[in-house]
């Protein structure tokens, strides 16, 4: 990217940050507030409680309430209650939550329609397959984690493949790829690419508007648009443009771990992977994992304090199933809307692979092999990235 252009964007972003943080409201513990908001992700259910994030005047508030209230991604709610501050997070415990059904604007109505459609699409999995296979497939295709049994998601974390059930760049690339391959059979390339872009946007809304999915979708759309315009794709530019756009819209994302990980792992895949590929002894999927890990390790350690020793091995063992599962599961979900038994058959075809996936994850999850570091100083992280950049520059010169 042009250096001057980069500088202009950077300055714009700086102003945005300055105004965002100087105008941010501060809450006192015990302060009563009441506001209306649209829920932009599926609430997380734990035991008898559910929690979700609500936006209030450019602040994110974590709401904890009873699991029996019917709250969905897309619900438009009025929330009133007391604020309680905890360290640097703003929480509300069991506020009054009412759902507002009338007077919705076009965007809200559209979102609710989409969520209804997504529920119809995904209900095929839970009605067809037993647990935890059904929730694993839901996680792999749509990044839906809410129905995952706790012991299985613990095993996913312990074996280092939890990222598989978070919808991310891999999913978006696969969705775009499938659609464009499919439509090139029938139409001109430009039209196929146009459908891919539509498909990616549609998928992003279905999967829930989380930072990783938004980042990947913006990139995906940019890459495919560049193909229509006949320009050479410059993934790095797209990545920075996506990051720029997202931060401009919501500066608080800079402290969102999902955003950081998504951004850094993509950078890793773009810059570190080509170096690893110079001596190709292992498959490309494993190299992707390693590259992403190299780029994100300090962020993971600072935020979670754990690293799974077997994660590279486990990733190598299971990642090859993801495109197959996405293809058969995704096709099953869509065909199931038209003719359910055919959809079910395709979902059943996923079952052997899902059993294999579960067996690997449970085996390594039980072994453990987690290194945990209580406190990881940020200075180490900073030093690590300086070294990483040096190594990358050296390799660039050699070339």
């Amino acid at each position: 990217m042009n250096f001057r252009m980069f500088l202009v964007l950077f300055v714009i972003l700086g102003f945005r940050f300055y105004f965002f943080y100087s105008n941010q409201p501060n809450f006192a513990s015990g302060q009563e507030i009441s506001f209306e908001t649209t829920i932009l992700s599926q609430p997380q259910i734990i035991g008898s409680q559910q929690s979700f994030t609500a936006n209030y005047e450019a602040r994110k508030i974590k709401i904890i309430t009873s699991r029996f209230l019917e709250i969905n991604y897309g619900s438009y709610l009025r929330i009133s209650g007391k604020i309680s501050n905890q360290s640097d997070r703003v929480l509300m415990y069991f506020p009054k939550v009412e759902s507002i059904n009338g007077s919705l604007n076009f965007f809200q109505l559209g979102l609710q329609k989409m969520v209804k459609f997504a529920q119809k699409l995904t209900s095929l999995f839970s009605e067809t397959l037993p647990s935890p296979s059904s929730s694993l497939l839901l996680g792999i295709i749509f990044g839906i984690k809410e129905q995952m049994p706790k012991d299985f998601s613990d095993n996913l974390k312990a074996s280092g493949v939890f990222h598989v059930i978070a919808a991310s760049g891999m999913n978006v690339a696969l969705v775009g790829g499938f659609i464009s391959t499919f439509f090139t059979f029938f139409f001109k390339r430009q039209i196929a690419i146009f459908f891919s872009i539509l498909g990616i946007i549609f998928y992003a809304i279905l999967a829930g508007l989380e930072p990783s999915i938004i980042r990947a979708s913006i990139m995906g759309v940019l890459v495919f648009s560049a193909q229509i315009l006949g320009r050479q794709t410059l993934a790095v530019n797209c990545l920075f443009l996506a990051g720029f756009g997202m931060l401009l819209a919501d500066p608080s994302l800079i402290s969102d771990i999902g955003f950081q990980l998504s951004f850094l792992s993509t950078l890793g895949i773009l810059y570190v992977k080509p170096i690893l590929e110079k001596k190709p002894i292992i498959s490309s999927e494993i190299l992707t994992t390693i590259a992403a890990q190299i780029a994100t390790l300090p962020v993971l350690l600072v935020n979670f304090g754990t690293y799974s020793l077997f994660s590279i091995l486990v990733n190598g063992l299971v990642l090859w199933t993801v495109p197959i599962l996405m293809m058969f599961g995704g096709a099953g979900a869509i065909l199931g809307l038209i003719f359910m038994p055919l959809g079910q058959l395709l979902v059943y075809l996923c079952y052997p692979l899902l059993l294999y996936f579960e067996a690997v994850v449970n085996f390594f999850g039980k072994i453990g092999g987690i290194i945990s570091i209580k406190t990881f100083p940020w200075q180490f992280a900073a030093g690590y990235y300086c070294l990483l950049v040096c190594v990358l520059l050296i390799f660039k010169k050699e070339k």
């Binding site: 259910i45 035991g47 008898s48 009873s66 699991r67 029996f68 209230l69 019917e70 209900s123 839970s126 009605e127 067809t128 397959l129 037993p130 647990s131 935890p132 296979s133 059904s134 129905q147 049994p149 706790k150 012991d151 299985f152 197959i324 293809m327 058969f328 059943y348 075809l349 996923c350 079952y351 052997p352 692979l353 059993l355």
Partner: protein
């Protein structure tokens, strides 16, 4: 396209293998009773030799789904009968997930309500899914294919009216909980939910003595059982559905000592996980 069909063929072959294997493993013409490890709560799956599935209670969270997934063949996604022993959250919360994942043919409970938002939400969900609801009392019975009878042995209508005059359940002495008794030729098992001594005493008249397996009432609470009742039942084995380090101190040492003093073998879900009891109608064994 060629690759797609090749992959599909391989997967179809593997699916066929799993189908054959699971059909042999799960349809073995024996009665299977699984006390699911759902932590502090109850969830019990009964699979008859003919392949009918009955679920008694759903436990406090989604973990019941794992138990169902593990103990039913993968294509079996319907439950012929779901029975709720009483409307407390540690027995019904998991039913929300069951309702979403399984087709339930009929729902049975005692004629008591609980005014909590959770229970109301559950009944709403059951009604929207158009699942028939029936209330049962002592002496009602379900006669199943293959010579299996599931008898309701408590509470009686009078007991419910006396202990809960308002028709709503409380948290302590007004507690009534469905008790049921399963008989399969020489094998029998008593399911007790969270019932207490008074109710169990009344139920004894509907139960044949010398039962095979006894579910210790109320996760091993000391108000669930007396030495006299245990003498009459005279079970060969006892099971306790209880969570690790629960805040109630269940199972109580009183109950454990009582069972030990009569040399009754105890299986606890907090120690062994799911407890699977398999019977051919003559004898039975436990598989972990």
């Amino acid at each position: 396209m060629k690759k797609f069909f090749l992959t599909a063929t391989v997967l179809l072959f593997l699916l066929g293998c799993i189908l054959v294997y699971q059909n042999i493993a799960y349809n073995d013409k024996k009665l299977h009773i699984i006390i699911c490890d759902v932590g502090q709560g109850d969830a019990i799956l009964i699979r008859t030799p003919q392949g009918s599935d009955i679920l008694i209670d759903g436990g406090p969270d989604d973990s019941v789904l794992n138990c169902l997934g593990k103990h039913l063949p993968f294509w079996d996604k319907d439950l012929e009968l779901v029975m709720l022993s009483h409307p407390h959250a540690d027995h019904f919360t998991g039913l929300f997930s069951v309702l979403r994942n399984y087709e339930i043919r009929s729902f049975v409970s005692e004629d008591l309500i609980n005014k909590t938002a959770g229970f109301n939400a559950l009944i709403d969900r059951i009604k929207t899914q158009k699942i028939p609801i029936r209330f049962v009392f002592a002496e009602d019975r379900f006669i199943l294919k293959g010579n299996i009878v599931l008898k309701i042995v408590g509470p009686t209508q009078e007991f419910v009216h006396q202990t809960s005059p308002g028709g709503a359940i409380g948290e302590s002495n007004e507690l009534g909980s469905l008790e049921s008794f399963l008989v399969y030729e020489n094998f029998s098992m008593l399911f007790t939910g969270d019932s207490q001594v008074l109710e169990l005493q009344e139920a004894l008249e509907f139960i044949d003595a010398n039962i095979s397996v006894f579910q210790v009432p109320h996760h091993g609470s000391k108000f669930g059982l007396t030495s006299e009742i245990l003498d009459i039942l005279n079970p060969k084995m006892a099971v306790i559905s209880v969570g690790k380090n629960n805040k109630y101190g269940h199972p109580t040492t009183f109950i454990l000592d009582l069972l030990k003093s009569k040399n009754i073998k105890i299986f606890r879900t907090d120690e062994v996980g799911d407890i699977e009891i398999v019977s051919d109608g003559k004898s039975f064994f436990v598989r972990n």
